[in-house]
């Protein structure tokens, strides 16, 4: 780590960059105030400016991070809390891939990975990530090279192969935190097993950063993660209002800081502001979708490349997504991140994430969510890429319809590879489902 690199990082990422972004944010806020609402959607959230600023700053910081501070690439559901106190800049390849998806850059990246021999059946996040690595093109400018790779298998087994490929390509150490799948509940040895691995991760992270991890700092970070998750959960709770004060598809974007910045003071500040704004909107009766007629749940990842058309379609039917298993998965952990024994809390938290739990648990959670959010129906996105999330959705749909009277529809698409999204067919199916709630709105 050269002095020169550190100085440049400090200047760009901590001083000049943020100053420029702050000016930009002020301009954007002024513009937002003048911007008329686009019916049927409610006025845009002021927090959208903060969100953009936060994400831009995060990616800007990344551009000059390598060589200036330790860098880790990490899966979304990995115990990032042990890295933050060691000064790591943390890259989330999944988030980066989602951005590529939303900016319509995923296809080219996937194709680059396929040319290198990776199968098209592989998750499009993995292909997008590997593809941007090979082609050296990304909409975020530049992603810093890692000193350490951290992969936790609590979301899928794909990540194990994906990160192994990264370790091979980048020649850096990889730490895998293996989480046994929870059939029913947690068994005592599950937690011990995961805990030991997280302790091992801490040692590897210390080695790569050449610094010791202070327990007090870890506890502090965990406390911040816990607060972030709790605040995010409160934001999502606002969806229970009728009408819901924000548009549910947006919540997929607002989830970003929860994933990539949990454990940092910035994330806490951001969600405090978002929550205040949502509460204020709810008080004033502002609706995410005016004349809200249909309240829906969403299961699985979003279709990043089709957010716009999906919004338009839902808007035409006066339909809002009032809750989603995907966004809520990130608030559930608030209760588990208890202070006291940080390694134990981390093991509990990362063992019990949504995708590491059996279908019976998922069915129960979904039914409870439908009740709490007074949902009229469920949209199940059968995501070609994400096998663990999509497995069992037809059964979940049946169960919810028969036992709880909440109908659902399964739409087949992909979270980021547009070649696996047949929009016309998807839209047709969605419309047919929505016609059942709001006849004649299909215009």
């Amino acid at each position: 780590m050269t002095v020169w690199r550190r100085a440049r990082h400090l200047l760009e990422a901590r001083l000049a960059g943020p100053a420029v972004l702050a000016v930009q944010s002020r301009r954007r806020l002024a513009k937002l105030a003048r911007k008329p609402a686009a019916p049927p959607f409610g006025p845009p959230l002021r927090a959208s400016v903060a969100l953009r600023g936060l994400m831009e700053r995060y990616y800007l910081e990344g551009r000059t991070a390598d060589g200036a501070r330790p860098v880790a690439w990490i899966t979304s559901g990995a115990p990032v809390e042990v890295l933050r106190p060691l000064g790591y800049y943390v890259v989330y390849p999944e988030n980066h891939a989602a951005i590529c998806g939303a900016r319509h850059a995923a296809q080219a990246a996937c194709e680059a990975a396929e040319r290198a021999g990776y199968s098209r059946s592989l998750c499009s996040y993995a292909r997008t990530d590997l593809g941007t690595l090979f082609s050296r093109t990304t909409p975020v400018g530049r992603v810093p090279k890692p000193d350490l790779l951290v992969c936790c298998t609590n979301i899928c087994q794909t990540v194990a192969g994906w990160y192994r490929a990264l370790a091979h390509e980048l020649r850096v150490p990889l730490v895998v935190v293996d989480t046994p799948f929870l059939q029913g509940g947690e068994r005592p040895h599950d937690r011990t097993y995961v805990r030991r691995q997280i302790e091992g991760l801490a040692e590897a992270a210390e080695r790569a950063a050449r610094r010791p991890l202070r327990l007090a700092a870890l506890e502090e970070t965990l406390g911040r993660s816990q607060e972030t998750a709790a605040l995010w959960g409160e934001c999502l709770e606002q969806g229970r209002r009728r009408p819901a004060p924000w548009f549910g598809l947006e919540s997929f974007l607002y989830m970003g800081p929860m994933v990539i910045l949990r454990g940092t003071p910035e994330a806490i500040r951001f969600y405090r502001a978002l929550l205040a704004e949502l509460r204020e909107r709810a008080e004033r009766g502002v609706a995410g979708v005016e004349g809200e007629r249909v309240r829906l749940l969403w299961d699985n990842l979003p279709i990043w490349s089709e957010l716009r058309r999906l919004s338009d379609l839902l808007g035409r039917f006066g339909a809002n997504l009032v809750a989603a298993t995907y966004t809520h998965a990130w608030s559930d952990c608030a209760d588990l991140m208890q202070p006291g024994d940080p390694f134990d809390a981390l093991a509990r938290t990362y063992l019990s994430v949504l995708l590491n739990r059996d279908l019976a648990t998922r069915a129960r959670d979904l039914a409870a969510m439908a009740r709490r959010f007074r949902a009229d129906g469920v949209l199940f996105h059968a995501d070609r890429s994400c096998k663990p999330y999509s497995l069992g959705q037809h059964g979940l749909r049946e169960k919810l319809a028969r036992e709880h009277g909440v109908p659902g529809v399964v739409i087949e698409a992909d979270h980021s590879d547009p070649r696996d999204v047949a929009w016309e067919a998807t839209a047709n199916r969605l419309e047919a489902f929505l016609e059942g709630f709001a006849p004649g709105s299909g215009r």
Partner: protein, 255 residues
């Protein structure tokens, strides 16, 4: 212009259909044509022919089918699910299950009160198990729809065709013919394979009564019988099955 008159258009992927109905639901004019690439132009031309050149207000127009958004001046647009459900309920008042086999997709619908679709299943990702599958396969054998019934009747047994993929089935056909399997048995095999697929689609809406078949493919009795044998309920073609979607759209326009 008679009071209560309305028009329904079903702009499908292979055929374009229109009906004009009176207030009491009587069909006074109809048209079935091959779908042209320009839905707008086709609609304008046929409406001029059916209703006379546009002058003064036109009756309400309901549109359905994949091209529904491109039907100009539609007062109502509904999906084929709603259209076939509503249309079938009009022509077969006690219908409770509908099977529509279109050119590029197939749908099974459970009807609720008032001809509303309360549950549906559809295949929309590929042309396996749709009209296009049979059409492709027949073309390979130099046969057309009109020959189907007779050819199936002549078969002693069905040839075994395992794929309903419109592309792979062709390969299988070539292989079967090369092995000397008679054309009639191959065709019957195709019909059975399609019936298998459609019966599985129907099973998703759990039929417990007779099924009304709509769409052009419903005119094929051999196919309907093969499906009925699998689901255990009679499958009957709706009157003028090809027009059911357009009819449903016309009724929706008058709502």
């Amino acid at each position: 212009m008679t009071d209560g008159r309305r028009v329904g258009i079903d702009a499908g992927s292979t055929t374009w259909k229109a009906v004009v109905i009176e207030g009491d639901g009587r069909v006074v004019a109809s048209r079935v044509e091959a779908a042209e690439p320009r839905v707008e132009a086709q609609t304008r031309r046929v409406l001029d022919e059916l209703l006379g050149p546009a002058a003064g207000p036109r009756p309400p127009l309901g549109a359905t089918g994949y091209g529904r958004r491109r039907v100009p001046d539609a007062t109502t647009r509904i999906t084929e699910i709603a259209a076939h459900a509503g249309g079938a309920a009009r022509v077969v008042p006690d219908a409770r299950f509908v099977l529509d086999v279109g050119g590029q997709d197939a749908k099974a619908i459970r009807l609720g009160p008032g001809g509303r679709a309360v549950e549906f299943a559809m295949n929309d990702r590929c042309a396996a198990g749709t009209g296009r599958f049979l059409e492709n396969a027949l073309a390979r054998l130099h046969l057309d729809w009109a020959d189907l019934e007779r050819t199936v009747g002549a078969a002693a047994r069905p040839a075994r065709i395992s794929s309903t993929c419109a592309v792979f089935a062709e390969t299988e056909i070539v292989g079967l013919l090369a092995d000397g399997v008679p054309v009639s048995e191959v065709v019957r095999g195709l019909v059975e394979a399609l019936a298998e697929r459609l019966a599985a689609l129907l099973a998703q809406v759990r039929p417990d009564g007779p099924i009304t078949a709509t769409g052009g493919v419903a005119r094929n009795r051999a196919l309907l019988e093969a499906i009925a044998a699998r689901v255990g309920w009679p499958v009957r073609a709706a009157p003028e099955p090809q027009l059911v979607g357009a009819l449903g759209a016309a009724w929706a326009a008058g709502r």
